[in-house]
């Protein structure tokens, strides 16, 4: 009888203890450091010290720091969305285990996107590239980070190298092409877009590439004309009437051929160079889009606020014409017509 009593008493004690633990835990659950009113202190040991203190277990230490990093990101993701200590975390992990390949890529991306710290991202990724010179992902991410800081030469170089590495996907070429464009190296950009258009299997990508090629094919001669106009102006203090005048005056060897059998036109009032073909193309696009706006009104009862509304509509978003000038469409609310932010090929830069 007393044995039963013992068991019963022990059981009761356990139940009471368990219940109290459970109740108190639900009080503390979900409280982040903010609720506790504490300052979050990240105590990260110095990398040199930690390497030595790990006594050979550096890999394991790196893993544990990584887990801590994940927790740090999660906490701040739910909270203030600021990640000031993130660079230190990644530096520590890669100091402890420099062969931790995935961390370079993940860290590079996280530092760029979350911490908004492209500089740390770049230094992490460059470290990764020195250890893993053949990993396309790390090279690609460093290209992305360079892009964010507008270091287009380095970005394009990274993208190009990444493309040469084993298992690199072909769409990286798009970044290469875009990078050269940003560098204003239009010849190379054209080369790359052309390559993409002829090698890709993706219909949408091919379409985009073709339109880029089209654009650049027209842009490059237009720029040449614009530069010659500038020299003409410096000599004669006025703009030429047409490209033929430039040739006659000796500033151009020949009139560049407009790729679509149109003509290059010098707009003497706006100091721009245009192509007749692309101008009419643009007009057609604007007409088409304005018609879409009217159709939108008929369908939905109100005018779309922005171009995105049109794009997002299932029916009307199809066959959306690309802007031939690398400009953007916008809806002019007074006339309810679609206009373009840019309607010229090149500007004549006069000081």
């Amino acid at each position: 009888m007393s044995r039963l009593k013992n068991i019963f008493l022990t059981g009761m004690i356990f139940i009471i203890l368990g219940a109290s633990v459970f109740l108190t835990s639900s009080i503390v659950k979900g409280k982040t450091w903010k609720d506790k009113g504490m300052m979050e202190t990240i105590v990260l040991p110095d990398s040199e010290i930690m390497q030595r203190a790990s006594l050979g277990y550096t890999n394991l230490a790196a893993d544990l720091i990584w887990l801590r990093t994940i927790r740090y990101i999660n906490i701040h993701n739910k909270g203030d969305k600021k990640y000031p200590e993130l660079p230190r975390f990644f530096k520590l992990i890669t100091d402890l285990d420099e062969n931790f390949k995935d961390i370079y890529r993940v860290g590079g991306e996280a530092l760029r996107e979350l911490s908004k710290d492209p500089k740390s991202s770049i230094s992490l990724l460059e470290k990764g590239r020195s250890i893993y010179p053949d990993d396309w992902k790390i090279a690609y991410e460093s290209g992305r980070s360079y892009s964010l800081t507008n270091q287009w030469e380095l970005a394009t170089k990274s993208f190009e190298e990444s493309l040469k590495m084993p298992e690199a996907p072909e769409w990286i070429a798009i970044h290469v092409a875009e990078g050269y464009y940003r560098q204003r190296d239009y010849m190379k950009s054209l080369y790359w877009w052309f390559r993409i258009s002829s090698t890709t299997n993706n219909k949408e990508v091919a379409a985009m590439a073709r339109s880029k090629v089209l654009y650049l094919d027209t842009l490059i001669p237009a720029i040449r004309i614009a530069e010659s106009c500038k020299l003409f102006w410096e000599k004669y203090r006025r703009l030429p009437h047409d490209p033929e005048e430039l040739v006659r005056a000796g500033f151009l060897d020949f009139v560049p051929e407009e790729p679509f059998n149109g003509r290059f036109v010098i707009d003497r009032k706006n100091f721009t160079i245009e192509s007749t073909y692309i101008s009419s193309l643009l007009l057609n696009c604007l007409e088409e889009l304005s018609a879409k706006v009217r159709m939108y009104k008929d369908k939905h009862g109100n005018y779309p606020v922005s171009i995105d509304d049109l794009k997002n509509d299932e029916e009307l978003g199809l066959n959306f014409p690309m802007h031939p000038y690398e400009g953007e469409y916008y809806i002019d609310h007074s006339s309810k017509r679609v206009m373009s932010t840019k309607d010229y090929l090149a500007r004549i830069e006069i000081n």
């Binding site: 890999n59 893993d63 887990l67 390949k101 995935d102």
Partner: protein, 255 residues
């Protein structure tokens, strides 16, 4: 030979039947299994975590056994008087020490086998690849444990268990920092101090030689030459330490 194996087997039996050993093995397997859970938290790095924790556990628990059992081994027998019934038999003192050492190695080896099997099961469970280089890494861990246990036994021939354990652990720590120690020594001024410090450097066990865990986890392979030369270093160091232990032990009086 027969006397040595008799001591080896009795040492082995004594340690294996001690509940502490069993608890340690079970605990180590639990920690090993928990690596699976840690892996899940690691956002894609599951295999790396399981491998790092696995090899780390094998190393750490082997270390615990080497230092704690080794540090107690001889001294306990001297203190309780058990040694009196053994030493008065026609057995050389060196046979006793060697027998004890081999018994300890057998225990460590047994623990290593259990943990390696557990590690294999868990690794296969998350479809990791098991390759020969993992065996190489575990082999070098065993060589490192040979060195550490020889040091522990050497201390336990004349120091209390507490001191043996502390000093062995100190040598373990310094053994892993030996390269940094050399760096400091190179910068020293004062030729006598530098000379003495250099001697200390050479006496320290260079344990980082046995650590290829980091390479193995990332899939780098280690050359057979390296394994061979490291093992040779480890075995000769152990020999030398056991020799020292024998010399100390020979001169001891058992009151």
């Amino acid at each position: 030979m027969r006397t040595i194996s008799a001591i080896t087997i009795s040492t082995f039996k004594e340690a294996v039947r001690d509940k502490v050993f069993y608890n340690l093995v079970i605990f180590s397997l639990i920690v090993l299994a928990s690596s699976r859970i840690l892996g899940l938290l690691s956002s894609g790095q599951e295999i790396k975590i399981v491998m790092d924790v696995g090899l780390g556990c094998i190393s750490i628990f082997g270390l615990i056994i080497s230092i704690f059992i080794g540090g107690n081994l001889v001294y306990k027998e001297i203190e309780r008087g058990t040694i009196q019934t053994i030493i008065v038999k026609p057995i050389d003192r060196h046979e006793y020490i060697i027998g004890k050492y081999l018994g300890l190695l057998l225990i460590i080896f047994l623990n290593l086998i259990f943990m390696t099997i557990g590690f294999y099961v868990i690794l296969k469970g998350i479809s990791g690849t098991w390759n020969f280089s993992i065996i190489q890494s575990i082999f070098l861990i065993f060589v490192e444990l040979m060195v550490i246990s020889s040091i522990a036994i050497m201390f336990s021939t004349f120091l209390s268990p507490l001191l043996s354990i502390l000093l062995t652990f100190c040598l373990f720590t310094m053994g892993h920092l030996s390269e940094d120690f050399l760096f400091i020594v190179e910068k020293m001024e004062g030729s006598f101090l530098k000379f003495v410090s250099k001697i200390i450097y050479y006496i320290l066990p260079h344990l980082s030689n046995f650590n290829i865990k980091n390479e193995i986890v990332h899939g780098f392979s280690v050359s057979g030459d390296y394994i061979f030369s490291s093992s040779l270093y480890g075995v000769s160091y152990s020999f030398a330490t056991i020799f020292l232990a024998i010399i100390i032990f020979r001169n001891r009086n058992f009151k």
